[in-house]
């Protein structure tokens, strides 16, 4: 098994890495709280919220749930189905915009 490095062969990881991730999660949570604290609005608010959210989710999955150390077969099986959810989200955004449009058009404007 020549290709594997020493680190990959050990069954548990050094405590330092967990403490690091733990700390990062606190910092990121604090940042996302600050987004609200300073009442950032618009695109900036959205992109910051999403960035911090995905970073936190990624760190939890990668290190606390060990996905970073798992083999690709598992990682890929877990991540590919998310494309269906992505498609669902994308289409439901289009759908709610259309619903708002019809509601405004028929209930507020009066369908003229």
């Amino acid at each position: 098994m020549g290709i594997m490095s020493e680190k990959e062969q050990s069954t548990t990881h050094k405590i330092g890495i967990y403490l690091w991730i733990w700390g990062l999660l606190f910092v990121l949570s604090f940042f996302s709280y600050m987004v609200d604290w300073y009442q950032l609005q618009g695109l900036l608010r959205w992109s910051l919220i999403l960035i911090f959210m995905f970073l936190k989710a990624g760190l939890i999955m990668a290190f606390f749930m060990h996905l970073f150390w798992e083999r690709y077969a598992l990682v890929n099986v877990l991540l590919w189905p998310m494309t269906a959810i992505g498609c669902f989200i994308f289409l439901m955004v289009a759908e709610f915009q259309y619903t708002v449009f019809t509601r405004l058009f028929y209930f507020v404007v009066g369908g003229q």
Partner: protein
């Protein structure tokens, strides 16, 4: 966790390894305990459940013509007389992340067969979870006190109350179930069931420290869902 050694099988890294693992006999996830693989698939299915909840919430919130309440104000707490926005939620997030950290360490010590350390960390996780549920109960009662109900909401769109109680309720239920299991597992760890391989009460399967990692996956997932709820429900 990481690549195990398997007699007569040479591991390859990356996508090459993925192709080789998939094409091999016996197992596809090499060295992964079946229970762990099962939990992962269960969580994948649960991801779809929570995604459907959040997508429904997005669709509902996006298409209502009545204003959505300002969450930053609705969820503020008064410290002295100044309202601090989202204070309780921030503390809840803090607690849940803390418990996630202790859980991750419990898994590590479990694999190192450090029974005491593992047990105490699981207990700490359980207490963190309990605190979270308690604070959620407080938040619910505060909102109910202010007149928010699943079917009505004095601050704006009805759906605010509906989605709030449903989504946090569903998440809270999962936290509570997790807490119950954490207490049971803490007991079993202290009793040494995982060292001796004592059989489970119902499943009659032999105990093994891998169960702690499996429970850990569930617990981290609950935390993960909270990350999304925090971003989409409270910060949006």
């Amino acid at each position: 966790m990481s690549d195990p050694k398997i007699e007569g099988y040479e591991f390859k890294p990356g996508f090459k390894g993925m192709a080789q693992d998939t094409g091999s006999d016996q197992t596809m996830f090499k060295g992964v305990h079946w229970g762990k693989a099962m939990m992962w698939i269960f969580l994948l299915s649960h991801t779809f459940i929570f995604s459907c909840f959040l997508i429904s919430y997005m669709k509902g919130r996006g298409s209502t013509l009545i204003d959505w309440p300002n969450t930053s104000e609705v969820f503020s707490l008064h410290v002295g007389s100044t309202p601090v926005p989202l204070l309780l939620i921030a503390i809840m997030t803090f607690v849940l992340i803390t418990s996630s950290g202790t859980m991750a360490l419990a898994v590590k010590y479990g694999y190192e067969k450090n029974r005491k350390m593992c047990g105490w960390l699981i207990l700490a996780t359980a207490i963190g979870g309990l605190t979270f549920v308690g604070m959620q109960a407080f938040e619910w009662s505060k909102l109910i006190h202010e007149g928010v109900r699943p079917w009505e909401n004095p601050f704006g769109a009805k759906q605010f109350g509906s989605f709030f109680f449903m989504i946090t309720g569903f998440h809270g239920t999962h936290v509570s179930i997790g807490v119950i299991f954490l207490f049971i597992y803490a007991y079993k760890t202290f009793k040494g069931h995982y060292d001796e391989g004592k059989r489970g009460w119902f499943t009659t399967m032999k105990g093994n420290y891998v169960e702690i990692e499996i429970l850990g996956l569930y617990w981290h997932f609950v935390d993960l869902v909270w990350v999304f709820i925090f971003a989409f429900f409270y910060l949006w």
